[in-house]
Symmetry: D2
Subunit: 350 residues, 4 copies
């Protein structure tokens, strides 16, 4: 059993990437957290508010080396490119710290699958037995006892929340699920690329990595567990010219003739007590603008009767529920805080 | 046979709607056209360049009543809400003028289907026997002899061009086609609505009319003819925060195991002589930014091997190939001009 | 003297306009506030979260008539078109409620000036003797004792904060001040207009109401008081294609040869203890992106030596420091709360 | 006297920068031009349409080395960072080719001024005696006989066109001119920077290089010649989150009391025969959206009577009239084509 502390010290490794910066923003608002240390390889020695002037006067911490901040903290968040988190997980494990990884290293159970999609092997394979992958809505019990927490990818989060009630209640066939996702540009991170250069991105729209995105095995892993059978999905992401938000439109073949009201009820039942999932009223469409800057996942349901297709629209803020917010939600559970502490922001209307 | 005239006089009914204004812009660049008359109910008596200052010094025509411009023109384009074109088609037919309708009145063959989706009956049913629906790439022969031309809807154009080679060559199953489309905001027209108010649209994204959009029967009509069998599609449009452009990502079950190169070849073969269809090289993705302000349809092909799915990305400028440009392309064919005259603009890179 | 209550009940008249909706968002986060009643003429009887789905599950209050909510509240915020607030101010005054007006009715001291710019007369002239106009940084003492509080306009707020230290310290001449402001589209409100229709606003930029904007007399009134002399400014606003934020670039003739460091020090001195004013380090530029969704005003200073001009860049979020946030800041002072309570949000980096 | 050729061969050095790519786009539409060669250091050996897929099927030329294309062309356009054009100018001069420089090397008359602002010296000083700086509206005669043509900077073009009638007619004082400009992001070029990374630029707005932008001496040089006296201006550019367009709002002290109608007439008189300058009707505001993708400069005039200030709003497309279009306009004059050939595009309304 974990003792509930009133105040814990948090550190962020990779604090100047977009997910790291969003973590800092949200942690500053958390009543039980002291942001104790931030690290950055690129900007070590500078002040975080020089890199992110929005934080000026709010968080002016100096950026340290990762190794220096671990000993000072109770919980370490890492937001790093894949392949770089394991080492810090090991250090934290040795030092008895809770480690929450926003990267991909601990997301996939099967090392072969990880190697196939990421092109590298796990370096600390035994560590993975101790790690828990957690979308809190599905994995609360496990994450409460975990010391290495794998925070899910942005696309898989919204998609799993959108599909879970349909799969668990056998409303849809597990074959032939099509997922068409659109992500705001922060999803591509802070690193520069021609593809995210303003004049190339603005007034543009295209798919990318159709059938080849690394979130595909993570989506299939989560859904297969919910379905208790191996399933495969078609997953095509698109780059959307907005800063934040992911919308996934999901197409499933209905399992025979089910009344829409029954489908809707299954979703209502599953999510009625979830603080961060909001089922839209019938006829409304989930819109990314209603969840921006918040930890909500909004879901709307639609059917195409003439093809017996269930259409699920699921939206999240990719930086919050899809990254930093969900990481804090996991931390809250792990440390025995109420799951919503620090996350009850009100999404702006505009 | 139609005599080729060097110079013809064109009129636009509904010139101050978005499609009308785009027609004016493109017709001004056409070497064989004199823009003779423009009509608008809302702005009658004003100068078009007062409503659209971009046209100042380029086209400063006064906006007349529709009935006044028909007698002065050889060809009349109408860009009106559904239910309002038939009357003008009848007048043009009586007066021996060519009528090109950018609205929905003449798009659907089956009057019952029209009534079901549009909620009104055709008023001049016999007129519909004379009208020809034309995506020029498929209907060149017919449109060359037509005096009432139904210009296709924006979504159906890009979708039909994207799917035709796959359907005609039986590359994909005709069952279970899923079409996820995203349209720029000009697609909603010039009329004001909360949904297209800048702060509500900017940084927003959502689906709308899932399975209920009026372009659904038009898409099915075109594809069914190509397939020589009745087929049904799932069609879900989304509102995209850009001014122009439609991207459709189309998911089809492959008909057995077909090599990607053979699929690609089928598309190459079908479109190699088409001036306005550009098959993207393998690995590239069709992007709306490359077709904006032009009559091109760019298509890219992708397969998801692990689910045997063909993924087709098709992009057009909804105002050009999806409306005004295609109308001029149809006019060119009808009047014996080269199909590309006036349409060889170069899409800007940014 | 006012008794400090732990919890007060607040009502918003005009809750479905943009400033009203932003008030609701911010009030929900305020630990000392119970949002007791909301009114809307247009949407009376509906739930606020039907109009603003971002509030779903957070604030689902029914929209009442204005008259019904006043008796239930301790403080009433009104966000209404000019000419409509006075009546409610009178009702609140009679009932002993604090009234905070986000509209223009109580902003101008001189009734002749009000009439000249707004085209109507004050209906309750005696009420104006009791009202206090408050940019809290300048008017803390007065607002603490006021029962009718005039919340400043968005443009005047950022401009006055940007110019005050230069004027008070006689760094600049009071003649010839030029103010070039750019406002995000929420500044135009929720009402529909061609000018704020997405395709007309996106990828567009222009000035409007040059020398004729109604905030001009308010700016001059505030600056004249700071300068202890009547001054006139040139004020030209522009519509900026973003949702939120106002940037004002202010040009002043320096009063003789003053060293930049001395100017900078004067600003530092004046604002060093202000919780919501952040002077940018030398060489940096105030950017609207760093204050969005927050009550901050960021200011940067620049000089053009070869013309002896001081250039001041001032940015605020027009909906927060320029409207709802400042109203809450005023309320905090009036009710004896710490001025920053409920307003310590962290502006996001993206 | 130059012989008028029907068809000339053009080359572009630096064809993959933004101005270069825009030149290619516009030259493709020019009836008297054959695009003979394109060069790029970064992409040498690749096809231009691989770098710019919008050109696919329209211009698929291979990118060569600069030295290889000069001998094959009659006119060479160079779009390069400062300091790199002189060498090619010398080569062209030696080979008897016309050289049009879109860069800064030949814009400033005074070598000391060039060195002060650009930090390097001219390498071929004698070459500068032969070069002609040309905003065609002011320098037609000179450019017709020039073999080295300096194409003006984007900001200076719109500003000079906006101010010229006021200065020439002594409507305004030459002292104290304030220029507040806002440029779309293409003005920053194709090179990547944090400042033009989509999530950092979108929903952002700030000034940059206040009083320090390199276009300042060019603006002052042009205006001083028009005024026949040395004048100084305050020039502050801002980065505007749109792809294209520059708006400059210019503030001038009126020379005594002049009636607005007389000012307006002076502008009308000066520009009535200019094909690319459009004076807006009284009360209207020049908006970048009306000139995008075109060579127009739209100008609107406003006065602030209470401060005797003339406010001039001037808009251009920075890539066309501010770069590639104006370069072609200069070429047309130099080669004896009608000045408007290839440039009569119609700016789109949206």
């Amino acid at each position: 059993m974990h003792k509930i502390k009133q105040l814990i010290k948090a550190g962020v490794i990779g604090a100047t990437g977009y997910a790291g910066a969003e973590l800092v923003r949200l942690l500053m608002l958390h009543p039980n957290i002291i942001v104790e240390g931030l690290s950055s390889v690129t900007y070590e020695g500078q002040n975080i508010s020089e890199v992110y002037p929005n934080l000026k006067g709010i968080c002016d911490l100096k950026l340290d080396a990762a190794h220096d901040i671990i000993p000072r903290c109770d919980v370490i968040f890492a937001s790093l490119p894949h392949g770089l988190s394991e080492e810090y997980a090991q250090l934290c494990s040795d030092a008895g710290k809770v480690f929450i990884d926003l990267g991909a290293d601990f997301r996939l159970d099967d090392q072969m699958v990880y190697e196939k999609w990421y092109g590298v092997k796990h370096k600390y394979p035994t560590l993975h037995n101790k790690s828990v992958y957690s979308i809190p809505e599905f994995h609360r019990a496990a994450v409460a006892a975990a010391d290495i927490i794998a925070n899910p990818g942005c696309y898989p989060t919204g998609i799993a929340l959108g599909l879970a009630p349909a799969i668990i209640n056998k409303i849809v066939e597990t074959d032939g699920i099509i997922i068409d996702s659109k992500s705001g540009v922060t999803g591509a991170g802070r690193g520069l690329s021609q593809n995210t250069h303003y004049p190339d991105t603005n007034e543009a729209f295209a798919a990318y990595k159709a059938g080849e995105h690394r979130h595909t095995p993570e989506i299939e892993q989560t859904l297969s567990k919910l379905a208790h059978t191996d399933l495969r999905v078609v997953f095509v992401p698109h780059l959307l010219p907005v800063n934040r938000g992911i919308e996934s439109t999901i197409y499933c073949k209905m399992n025979g003739c089910i009344h829409f009201d029954d489908i809707y009820s299954a979703y209502e039942t599953m999510y009625k007590n979830e603080p961060f999932v909001r089922l839209q009223k019938k006829g409304a469409y989930a819109n990314i603008k209603n969840v921006r800057f918040s930890n909500y996942c909004d879901i709307s349901l639609h059917t195409d009767a003439h093809t017996e297709t269930l259409i699920i629209c699921s939206v999240i803020d990719n930086m919050v529920k899809g990254a930093a917010g969900q990481a804090i939600q996991n931390m809250n559970i792990r440390f025995g805080f109420h799951e919503t502490v620090g996350l009850l922001t009100v999404p702006p209307a505009f």
